[in-house]
């Protein structure tokens, strides 16, 4: 019994830490599948979290917070698009710039507007996305295992958590079952062919980048409006990069992306839980090793030891129409 409780506990925290990773990872998926590399996920998430928390604090409404977070993230995504699509700039450089601008401006603006050392005011309950109880969760609480799983693991998350997991099949459907998705993938593999077919490469890539902005805005909102009650400085703490690692780990596919994010989230949850407690057989594992494991795993994958991660062929290359 105790084991089931502990397991549900750790899986529950896995889900909680995985959600922002998953949203950011799917965000990167749209952009990179369309041939625009994006290492600015971190910055867009951070800006979204700040904008969402600030707006939710001022208007005391989670929905307004969400809307503003998405608008700000899309705005930053459009800057990335403007630099890398319209002006054919280096996509990595642009992503680095976005991360810096977000890291600095969230602190400066936060301090200037709220005077709490870069934090936003603590949000009231109506400014947050509360926990949603699935129907019958209370009644089933005492049923062993199945009831526990239902009420302890599936129920009681915020709306954005369910949105994040529903976004996985939705993204799959968009990418692999719609005309837009086909074209989006084509523009990441062979933009010249898309251009020949009379479809605007730039407009397609812009739409992909906008999708990225929306999803990173959701990721930021989740962190500031659901997981926490407000924004604290540098709250994304490298999650954008872990999401990027997960995206590569999942070989740019939506469903594996979910599993990669859950795996990395599980490692995170486990490292918090195991802090200092020795494991059977292995002994005491340093926390730092657990924290570095997502990155190490990704490097091993990139090295080609666990399958091969092949990025979209036109990724990172600005499209120049041949004259």
């Amino acid at each position: 019994m105790e084991f089931v409780d502990a397991l549900i506990n750790i899986l529950n925290s896995t889900i909680r830490v995985s959600v922002p990773l998953l949203l950011a990872c799917l965000a990167g998926l749209y952009s990179e599948r369309a041939g625009v590399f994006d290492i600015g996920l971190e910055g867009k998430m951070l800006a979204g979290a700040f904008a969402g928390a600030a707006a939710a604090a001022v208007f005391a409404s989670a929905w307004i917070g969400l809307l503003v977070a998405v608008l700000v993230s899309v705005g930053m995504a459009l800057v990335h698009g403007f630099a890398s699509i319209t002006h054919r700039g280096n996509q990595i450089v642009s992503g680095v710039a976005i991360n810096f601008i977000a890291a600095g401006s969230t602190i400066i603006l936060g301090q200037a507007w709220f005077q709490q050392g870069g934090r936003t005011p603590s949000l009231p309950p109506e400014g947050r996305f509360g926990e949603i109880k699935l129907p019958g969760a209370d009644a089933l609480r005492d049923v062993p295992v199945i009831g526990q799983l239902y009420s302890g693991l599936l129920s009681g998350h915020s709306l954005l958590t369910y949105v994040a997991f529903l976004a996985v099949p939705f993204t799959w459907w968009v990418l692999f079952r719609t005309r837009f998705g086909l074209r989006l993938r084509a523009v990441g593999e062979n933009p010249a062919a898309v251009d020949t077919a009379g479809i605007s490469v730039a407009w397609l890539r812009y739409r992909a980048v906008i999708c990225t902005g929306i999803l990173t805005g959701l990721a930021g909102s989740y962190m500031a409006l659901a997981q926490n009650a407000g924004f604290v400085k540098d709250m994304t703490a490298g999650r954008g990069y872990i999401a990027l690692a997960a995206l590569i780990f999942a070989k740019w596919k939506p469903v594996p992306a979910m599993f990669a994010c859950l795996l990395f989230g599980f490692l995170d949850a486990l490292s918090i839980r195991l802090q200092g407690t020795p494991l059977p057989l292995i002994g005491k594992v340093p926390v730092q090793l657990m924290q570095a494991l997502p990155y190490i795993l990704t490097v091993i994958l990139l090295a080609g030891f666990i399958g091969k991660a092949i990025p979209p062929r036109a990724g990172g290359v600005p499209y120049v129409k041949e004259r």
């Binding site: 280096n90 710039a97 400066i108 730092q288 990155y295 090295a303 080609g304």
Partner: protein, 380 residues
């Protein structure tokens, strides 16, 4: 494939366009200052005065610039090979580990002028080793170097936390850092050099001889890139990997060698804060200098003659930014992070934004300067 942009005269390409980009970046930063309710012009005056208004300010400015020269050169060398080394942060951090090993073993027995060369070698070696795996993976396995170096930044941070907390921390100490270095691990200051020019510098100013090392390295990088066979190969590979392969240049070798040099330069950055100022190895001593190197290399157009002034400019921002934080309550040092981001955006990613306009202006003034007469000649 047609070249997307016509050629401009060299002075416009290397002087005018970076200058315009920089001005736009500062103008946008000024808007942010305005947004938080301060006067941007007054902020600029405080910034420049804080950085260059006193001997002490200049010493700090050059101290920060030393870090950025090293990391800027590291990024630039990789740029010449068409590689994007975003891992300067991690390489410098691990370079600090090399220094810690050397200094902690020798600082009680040897004088600084023996320890210093050993520490240079150790920092370069450790930095280079940290770049070796990403380089190998890029060269042999084709894994994207940007991604692997990002991952290695995070792995480096974990390694260093582990080493400082569990291995290097002296017994009974709470702070995760090494013990204080003895005399042999402390580099001489350079304050007297500024005093020669009649400037007042307190002995506490951190400017030290690793600044001179940085200048030497800038010169050596120039020699390497433009005056040696290896440099020629690096540039050839960066210009066109196909042409390089056709000319018989070994692709894996050139990638790995370039990244080793780049990592070594980044690793040497650790000398300045560790041996020159702090006299111990603390957590996070790199504090973003690896990323500033990207901005510096972009602004300096990957040429040492451009990197040194660009590094001093960023040193000015760091030092002046600290003064600014004193004077203006609404502005903290994070303002520098924004400016850095804007410089990277406008001087790097959007570097071509104003090019067509400038080309248009040049073409209307003198068509010959942008190569328009040549096309006319073809037609005739």
């Amino acid at each position: 494939m047609s070249t997307p942009y016509a050629k401009l005269p060299a002075w416009a390409d290397y002087g005018l366009i970076p200058l315009i980009n920089l001005l736009v970046a500062f103008a946008v930063a000024g808007l942010v200052v305005l947004l938080v309710g301060e006067n941007p012009l007054r902020a600029a005056v405080i910034l420049v005065e804080g950085a260059f208004g006193s001997g002490q300010g200049i010493a700090y400015t050059l101290f920060y610039a030393t870090n950025f020269i090293f990391t800027g050169l590291a990024v630039a060398v990789a740029f010449h090979c068409g590689l994007f080394n975003i891992g300067g942060e991690g390489q410098a951090y691990i370079g600090g580990l090399g220094i810690a090993i050397v200094v902690l073993s020798f600082d009680s027995t040897l004088p600084w002028w023996v320890v210093f060369p050993l520490a240079i070698i150790a920092s370069a070696l450790f930095g280079a080793l940290w770049a070796l795996i990403p380089a190998y993976l890029q060269a042999k396995r084709g894994s994207h170097i940007v991604i692997t170096t990002i991952m290695f930044n995070f792995i480096a941070a974990s390694v260093m936390v582990y080493m400082l907390v569990n291995v290097l921390k002296p017994m009974g100490s709470m702070a995760p850092q090494t013990r204080q270095f003895l005399e042999g691990g402390q580099l001489p200051k350079l304050g007297w050099l500024l005093a020669e020019f009649g400037l007042k510098v307190r002995p506490s100013a951190p400017l030290n001889i690793s600044f001179l090392l940085a200048l030497v390295m800038a010169f050596l990088v120039w020699v390497l890139i433009w005056r040696t066979r290896l440099g020629y190969e690096i540039r050839t590979y960066g210009f066109s990997s196909k042409a390089a392969r056709y000319a018989g240049i070994s692709e894996p070798r050139i990638i790995i060698v370039t990244m080793l040099i780049s990592g070594a330069l980044a690793g040497m950055m650790a000398l300045n804060p560790i041996m020159g100022d702090q006299h111990n190895v603390p957590l996070d001593f790199v504090s973003g200098a690896g990323f500033v190197g990207i901005a510096v290399a972009l602004m300096g157009r990957s040429h040492p003659a451009g990197i040194v002034p660009a590094a001093i400019l960023f040193g000015m921002l760091y030092q002046g930014g600290a003064e600014l934080a004193f004077e203006m309550p609404n502005i903290s040092r994070d303002m520098i992070v924004i400016i850095q981001g804007l410089v990277i955006l406008f001087a790097g990613a959007l570097e071509n934004m104003f090019r067509p306009t400038i080309q248009g202006i040049f073409a209307s003034i003198s068509p010959g300067s942008v190569g328009i007469t040549a096309t006319k000649g073809e037609r005739a």
